[in-house]
Structure formats: C-alpha cells, structure tokens
C-alpha cells in the first residue's frame, strides 16, 4: 500500500521540482521523420512524435496497413532503429515489406538488416494484447534497448479488431478493457519515450458520415488522428487522401493526397503486357 503511494507520488514530485521537470519535458520529446511522403509528413507536422499516440482510421482497403508498413520500413532502414509491430489481423506481410525495401536500396544485406529490426508480435484477442503490452512494459522494451538497438516505435494494427467485440450489449467488461489498453499504451509511450501508431476502423453515424470506431471514450486516447480515404472516380485506384481529424499542433481538417504506388515504384514499371490489359478493364 505504502509502496504504491510512493510509486504514484514519485513522478509528481519530480514534476514539481522546477529544475528537473523543465529539463525532462524539454529534452526528451523529439519526432521521427517518417519519410512517408512529403505530404503525409506535412500533415503530421513533420512526423510521428515520441511520447504520443497517433491513430490512423479508414474504411477497409484505404491503406492503413500500407502506411504502417511504410513507416516501419522507413524507420528500420533510414533511422536504423527497432520497430515493434503488434499484428492482430494477420495483415503483416513480410513480402510486402521486402518489396518496399527493394525500392529503397538494391543491397540485399541492407534489406535483410532492416527486416531484422522489425519485430512482429501476433496476438488475436484483447487478453493476449494486454499480456503482450504488459510484458513489453515490464521487461521487453528494456531488453531491446540493452541489446544495442533503440526502440522508438510501437505499432498496433489494429486495436479495434480485438476491442470491438467486447464493447456494447450486456457486457460490462468492455470499457474496463478498453481503458486498460489505453493506459498501457500511454504508459509505454511516456515511460520509454516511444511513438505509438495504431489503426482503428470506421463506422457510420446517423447521417452516414464516417467516424472512427470504438466510441467517444476511445477518441480521447490518441493525440493525433488521421482519416484515410479512397479518392473516387479516378483512373488510378491507388490514390488516397489523408485528413487530419484531431491534432494538438495543426489546424484540423487539413487534407493531403498521396499515392500508394509511390512505395512500390519498381513494381509499377515492370508491368507485363497482361497487367496492362487488366488496368484497361478496371471499372
């Protein structure tokens, strides 16, 4: 009991101490330039910030997993840092990561090295997710930093897949689990100075407008929220728009357009005759 109180008061006392707190706040926050595309980085105010949670929402097929892959590949290849990726939908496809790496560098060794820096956890329900996050918080992340690499990013794809079946109806545990997951993510982000990126699904509200899933309570958890959408009525079906729906740094409702094909340019140029036939017959 007393130990717990001192645990709680410790950080508060630190914050109140003027010397220590000022340095702490100023020194340790920095951002990770994600090199996604110039547009997306602009939207995120130059990148992902450590110590914060950023959320990507969008309809199926809007590119959330692709953006996560791109961020993982950029950070592991260009910034040479370890990335932790928690995959709940078996959407992680190492072949795709390799394709993206191949457009960045033709050197096989570099590609393999970058792939080794991405660590994947596969969990399929909320209790395993909590077990994984608690394990990371207690010894997983320290082990990773001790080993030489530094961990600066944690991705969870997707949070809504495991939580949405627990909410609503007569279940009384849903909110508690939701808040526990939120608490774990926030503690990991703050204590270890890590940028957390997660994906969420969308639902339609009464008027037919898209809104992020998991309800109002979850909307307070991420600091920044980006909505990805397809661009209708275009010839190339790989265009997407990103809209900033919640941010503490920039004006909301900034929209940027980007192209998913940008991350696999080589593949596009090596289209065989067959693929061209398919493109012509696209609706």
């Amino acid at each position: 009991f007393i130990n717990r109180i001192s645990d709680l008061l410790g950080p508060i006392i630190d914050l109140l101490n003027p010397e220590k707190s000022g340095n702490r706040l100023l020194r340790e926050v920095f951002f990770l330039q994600t090199f996604l595309t110039h547009n997306l980085d602009k939207l995120l105010d130059s990148g992902l910030y450590t110590g914060e949670i950023t959320e990507l929402t969008g309809s199926p097929g809007s590119g959330k997993t692709q953006v996560c892959f791109s961020v993982a590949v950029n950070i592991s290849h260009q910034l040479k840092q370890t990335v932790f990726y928690i995959d709940t939908k078996s959407g992680m496809c190492a072949n795709r990561l390799l394709q993206m790496l191949q457009t960045k560098t033709p050197n096989m060794e570099e590609q393999m090295e970058a792939l080794q820096k991405i660590k994947v956890f596969r969990v399929f329900d909320v209790f395993s997710l909590l077990a994984c996050l608690q394990h990371l918080r207690s010894n997983g992340l320290q082990k990773a930093s001790v080993g030489g690499g530094s961990v600066k990013t944690l991705m969870v794809d997707s949070v809504s897949a495991v939580l949405s079946s627990m909410l609503g109806g007569k279940q009384n545990e849903g909110m508690s689990l939701l808040m526990q997951v939120a608490g774990e993510l926030k503690m990991i982000a703050k204590d270890f100075n890590i940028a957390v990126l997660m994906t969420n699904h969308v639902t339609k509200d009464g008027n037919g407008h898209l809104k992020a899933g998991l309800g109002q309570s979850w909307s307070h958890v991420p600091r920044t929220r980006v909505l990805l959408q397809r661009v209708e009525d275009t010839e190339t079906s790989s265009l997407r728009t990103a809209t900033l729906t919640k941010s503490s740094r920039q004006a909301c409702h900034l929209v940027e357009e980007f192209d998913l094909c940008h991350w696999s340019e080589e593949r596009r140029t090596s289209i065989s005759g067959k693929r061209k036939l398919e493109e012509r017959s696209k609706p």
């Binding site: 329900d125 909590l130 394990h135 609503g168 696999s264």
Partner: protein, 405 residues
C-alpha cells in the same frame, strides 16, 4: 478500541483510519507471502484486471488485495477461497486459468516476437492454393494465401460457391505438382454444396495433372490421385443457423488438432445465417467480429487458408443505388483480403479490393464444365480451355457457359 479484523471493511461505516490500518496489515500479510516467490517469472507483471476471468471474480480478487498475477500463483485453492470469499470451485478455476495463461505456447504467442526476416522465410514456406485461373492467381500473388482469411463477395449466381468448390479440390493437388497436398473442410450454411459438381471438378483436375506429369515422382503421385481420394479428403459440415456455425468454429481447434493435414477451411456462406432473424444488429456485429478474430487465430496457428463467402446488399445514397458487400461496415475490416466478384454485361469479373500485399486488380474469369477457369480471350490459356466451345470474339456476344451455381 478493539475491533475484529474482517475482510469486508470497505462496505459499511468503518472510519477511514480503520480501513487504512486493515488494508496496510493486509498488504503486509501479502508481502510475507510474496517473499516465498523468488524466481523471476514473466507473469509477475500481469495485473489482475487484465486476466481472462469473469468480471465479478476479478472484483472479488481485487477487493481481497490481489493486484498482480504473481500474488496469486503460489496460493492453494483453500487459501484463495478464504481470502477472497469465493467458493472452492471458483478458486480452482481461477488458479487453472493462471496456469493455462502461463503455458509455454500462450506465453510464447504474447511475449516472443518474430523478426520480419523470420516471417519472410515462413511465408515462403507456406505457399498458396491455386485457383486454376491464372489471371486470378497472378492478381492474388500465387493463389489464395495460407495463413490469412480471404473473403469472397458477389451477387447470386456469379460463381462464389464454384470458386469455393474449386479451391477445395485444388488444395489437394500433390506437392510435386505445386499444390499443397492437404485436406479441406467445407462448412456449408446455405445448402448449395453439390457433390456431383465437385466430382466433375476433381476429374478435370486429375486430367490436368495427368497432362502435366513429367518425371517419375509426379507419375507416382498421380497414381494415388483419384476422384475418390479427393472426395474422401473433403470434410463437409452442414450448419443450419448461426448458433451451429459459432459452435462449429468453437470446436474447430480440436478438429484441426486431430486432422493436421487440413489446409483449407471454407465457410459458404457466412452471411446467410446472420442475415435472417437477427433483431439486434449490434450484437450481430460483435458476434461477427469475435468470429473473425477466432478464424484469423486458427489460420495463423494451424497454417491454413480460411475462405469466407459473403452476399451483396444494396446501398442507396444520393438517389443512386450501389451493390456493396453485406454484413455492415465493420465486417469489411474483418477479413485480411477481399475479393469482389461481379457481372459486367455477360462477363464475370473479379476485383481484388483489399489486400495487404497485392495491388488492386480486376480480372476476368469464367465457369466451365471443368470448373473455375480463365476467360477464353486471355493470352495465357490452360490446356482445359480447349474444351471451351465457342471461340473468343466479341465480348458482349460471348454465349453464357453452362454452370450449376
């Protein structure tokens, strides 16, 4: 002032200092017990609220002072029973859950990670199931991937069940021919499974392999590949409503442990039992999401491909109507890959709508007597397309093929 130490201090009119005192004494007792546990266990950090127990149980445990899972590990059921005020059976259950949670494979899943490089090697080893339509195989990156869930949506009559039956036959093609050599489980909820049709497809597949056989290994495998063997490796389950379907999926892990050669599970269709007689739509969404996660877990842990069939519904917006996949917006996020089959005039087209690794593509296919095949005017033709009666010409004038969907 003497007061008896009782566990139910929280409720009632006990003064605050008394509550604190009792709680402190309680914690001291707990600490004495904790000293016995000196081995570092990775379970030590798991908090009690995050354990997979019933909420009422967790409330009782937390009120009794247990905060972390390691507080509970070295308790006997009788002790736990007295401390937490739960019945003996419940105490045994709680300790059982903790022990299961600490099982090697559970812990490994949650706490150990694979690097992307390991995953790459794994994916290359897993392979995919061909569909005998080379355009579709190219679009899917080799075929229906193993280890992921694929959803096939389409209007009635476009060929979803045909594709499912074709996959159930194709998964059994021997490894030396480039197939997986595995068995298939077909869960039929609509009653549209026709054995005679599968027998025709199996015969066509065997003929196709016979044409391809080159070396002795392949010829040996071909001797064993008969229509009877293909039909006997196909397990069929008929579910009449959603409760049966949920029960079947719940029992699948046991079935799959008994039959480890199963490489394909087809649910045709998953929309049918959930679209009839369901008043509470939010409950339907929850059930479907839970079902999808269970299927993804099975696909990953047992290395199989899961194929789901979905129906289409009409969405009216801005005075226009559009055909969209049924079961709602959040179901769209459930499957890993989504394939939409649709008509364009007399042509059948398949569009890859959502995939983590493949680009979007639309290809044409057709249904012949042999099964699911390439459309005749594609430059790459398989030997069976010689059975196509009319030559390719004008698309809109191509006669419709006989099919039994």
């Amino acid at each position: 002032m003497h007061t008896p130490h009782s566990r139910s201090v929280g409720g009632g009119n006990a003064p605050f200092w008394l509550v604190c005192q009792t709680a402190i004494k309680h914690q001291k007792k707990k600490k004495k017990k904790k000293k016995r546990k000196s081995t570092v266990n990775s379970k030590m950090h798991r908090t009690v609220p995050s354990l997979p127990l019933a909420p009422s149980m967790k409330v009782k445990l937390i009120n009794a002072g247990f905060q972390v899972a390691s507080d509970l590990t070295d308790m006997r059921p009788l002790q736990l029973c007295k401390e937490a005020g739960i019945s003996q059976e419940e105490a045994v259950e709680v300790l059982q859950v903790l022990r299961d949670d600490g099982q090697p494979h559970q812990q490994r899943a949650a706490t150990e990670s694979l690097t992307a490089l390991d995953l790459l090697h794994q994916e290359q080893a897993l392979g995919s199931i061909v569909t005998f339509c080379s355009a579709l195989d190219d679009a899917l990156g080799g075929g229906v991937p193993v280890g992921k869930t694929t959803e096939i949506c389409g209007s009635p009559g476009v060929g979803k069940t045909q594709l499912c039956m074709q996959l159930a036959v194709d998964v059994q093609i021997p490894v030396c021919f480039g197939g997986l050599g595995g068995k298939a489980l077909y869960i039929d909820t609509e009653g549209s499974f026709l054995v005679q049709r599968v027998a025709d497809m199996a015969e066509a597949a065997v003929q196709h392999c016979t044409l391809l056989a080159e070396d002795t290994e392949q010829r040996q495998a071909l001797e064993e590949l008969t229509v009877e063997k293909i039909l006997s490796n196909l397990f069929l389950v008929r579910c009449h409503d959603y409760v049966e379907l949920l029960a079947e999926v719940y029992l699948l892990p046991d079935f799959l442990s008994e039959h480890p050669e199963v490489r394909l599970v087809v649910i045709d269709s998953i929309a049918f039992p959930f679209r009839h007689d369901f008043e509470d739509l939010s409950q339907r969404t929850r059930l479907l999401n839970g079902l999808a996660q269970q299927l993804i877990q099975l696909a990953t842990q047992h290395s199989l491909a899961v194929v789901l069939t979905n129906q289409m519904t009409t969405r009216v917006s801005n005075g226009q109507s559009k055909l969209v996949p049924a079961l709602g917006e959040s179901w769209g996020h459930a499957a890993t890959q989504r394939l939409i089959l649709h008509w364009e005039g007399l042509r059948r087209l398949a569009s890859l709508y959502k995939s983590p690794s493949q680009m979007e593509a639309t290809i044409q296919y057709q249904i012949t007597v042999q099964g699911f095949r390439d459309a005749p005017d594609e430059p790459r033709t398989t030997p069976d397309s010689s059975a196509v009666s009319s030559p390719s010409g004008n698309h809109s004038k191509r006669p419709r093929m006989e099919d039994l969907s």
